[in-house]
Amino acid sequence: MARLNTPVMLKINDITVGYGAITAVKGLTLEVREGEIVSLIGSNGAGKSTTLRTVSGLLKPKTGSIEFLGERIDGVAGHDVVAKGICHSPEGRRIFPKMTVDENLDLGAFLRKDAAAVKESRERVLELFPRLRERINQKAGTMSGGEQQMLAVGRALMGDPKLLVLDEPSMGLAPVLVDLIFETIETIRKSGVTILLVEQNALAALRIADYAYVLESGHLKLEGDGSKLADDPAIAQAYLGG
């Protein structure tokens, strides 16, 4: 798939991010356009999750800027970034294990005031993941990995995002569920949500992406249309296991 010709939604401009003395992302520039699926791939420790955490305001970039819908959001606190329309389903799911599925979904809509619209989102999420409806009153921590992942994505959707940030949604899942998750990501995009995706499963991530960036030790290594990168033999060798 090729890059869409729509306005830029998220623009990351030359950011450097680190934890203490360690620099995890160095001079990264990338953009996400409205309606796109953009994938960020790379090996472990390449700086993918760090980039997403910076977008969501959990980390502050040392240099550079991040613009969302024309507004600077670097240095804005995490809870205020959510209010601007960026919802993040974090690495390792990070659902609230002692709460029920229902309460987890409610928390996803924590900042939304319009009860009717929240109810509508809830219906949409439960249609997307019928499994969650069956488990609605179950403690989230007692569910299987796949169900927890559905909950993590569903919870992020409850925030009615303009940009949905997904970090490793297929991690640790059975192959059947991996396919389901990727299908769902495409369904979500069709409903008008822009998606920034980080994945270890590089091939699948490139196939559904309009545009993709390849990170290596915190640097941008390559970028291009998702399908082109998926067919690139150099990429195949480095990231797709030959």
């Binding site: 969501s56 305001g57 959990l58 606190a77 995490g78 809870h79 959510v82 209010a83 919802c87 993040h88 974090p90 990070r94 659902i95 609230f96 294990p97 002692k98 709460m99 309460e103 409610d106 928390l107 996803g108 924590f110 900042l111 919870r155 992020a156 925030g159």
Partner: protein
């Protein structure tokens, strides 16, 4: 070879589990026998000792709630919490008794008591929020020991404030509550006990309602489980932690004024003793669990009261020993506390 070894190991585990059960049943049996003996010997005495234990237990529960709320949200044993309770009692004494001159039962003074109750709760809430801001917040990502030691230091600071405020000798508080009592089927209920129930029960209900049913409470429970994930939900984690300290402080303040008005003394070192008991209550019930703190407080109040007041019993000298012996026993059988989660190892 290996299968034999594992078979032996399994047998050992089973045996010790059975022993644990038998010893636990034995201990419970002894306790029930002792209580039953007293109940038959003097049922009326038994009933009034129970009322007395519940009264103390309610106060412990209010303080224990603060330990458990704060531990639940930032995993800090807030050693200064008992001293916050002490400052609450001192503050109420300074305002109600000294400034407003309410020293005897009257309708006007009851109204003043209610007003000062609210004021004391507010005072302790603000103080607790300030303590968190100044001392604990900057240490949130520091190693665990740092905030713990800071809490101990904060406890000394608050004690010093109390010392400067009321001096080193316990001060008698002429209470607004009448010391009369009324009989009910032979059991004497003091008005003070009724007042404590009237204040603590609604407060405990309101507090658990806030934590379990409101939006703020939901934010608290989420923050307690996962701070980063909560931020991603749009929850302001700092504000939520401040709110938790405010609730914990308000509960300690309410306990403080009720203590001053029912026991009738305030002293700068009150916080250490009651704080220890309340902390024990929180651990007994399962630290981090709201209902656990309440149940733990009531149980310790009852243990103390039964121990001190029953006709056949060890007597007051053994009060602390009994409380902590039961705590230790409980920790042996339920390491996580009564309602706490048993620590599960993740595989």
């Amino acid at each position: 070879m290996t299968s034999v070894a594992s078979g032996v190991a399994r047998k050992k585990v089973k045996l010790s589990a059975i022993l644990m059960k038998i010893s636990m049943l034995f201990i419970i049996g002894v306790a029930v026998y002792w209580l039953g003996l007293n109940l038959f010997k003097d049922p009326i005495q038994f009933a009034s000792v129970t009322v007395n234990g519940l009264t103390n237990g309610m106060l412990y529960a209010l303080i224990a709630l603060g330990y458990t709320l704060v531990y639940g949200i930032i995993e800090l044993i807030n050693f200064a919490h008992g001293d916050l309770f002490m400052l609450g009692s001192v503050f109420s004494f300074a305002i109600l008794t000294e400034a407003l001159g309410a020293t005897e039962p009257s309708t006007k003074n009851y109204v003043l008591l209610l007003l000062v109750l609210l004021l004391t709760m507010l005072f302790c809430a603000i103080l607790n929020v300030t303590i968190e801001r100044l001392a604990y917040r900057r240490l949130r990502n520091a190693p665990r020991l740092a905030p713990l030691i800071t809490a101990v230091g904060m406890s000394f600071v608050l004690q010093w404030v109390g010392l400067k405020w009321v001096g080193s000798v316990p001060v008698n508080v002429p209470t607004v509550l009448p010391s009369t009592s009324f009989g009910f089927g032979g059991v004497e209920f003091s008005f003070k006990a009724v007042a404590i129930f009237a204040v603590t029960i609604p407060l405990l209900i309101v507090l658990t309602f806030i934590v379990n049913k409101t939006r703020r409470g939901r934010a608290m429970r989420a923050t307690a489980q996962d701070k980063d994930a909560s931020r991603l939900m749009g929850i302001d984690v700092n504000k939520t932690i401040s709110f938790t300290f405010a609730i914990a402080g308000a509960a300690a303040g309410a306990a403080g004024i009720m203590y001053a008005q029912t026991i009738g003394t305030v002293a700068y070192n009150l916080g250490f003793q009651l704080g220890l008991i309340a902390f024990t209550s929180a651990v007994l019930g399962g630290v981090g669990n709201l209902y656990g703190a309440v149940i733990g407080g009531i149980i310790i109040g009852l243990i103390q009261s039964y121990n001190d007041g029953l006709p056949i019993g060890p007597g007051q000298r053994w009060s602390q020993t009994m409380v902590f012996a039961i705590l230790i026993l409980l920790m042996v059988y339920r390491p996580g506390g009564l309602l706490g989660e048993t620590a599960q190892e993740k595989v």
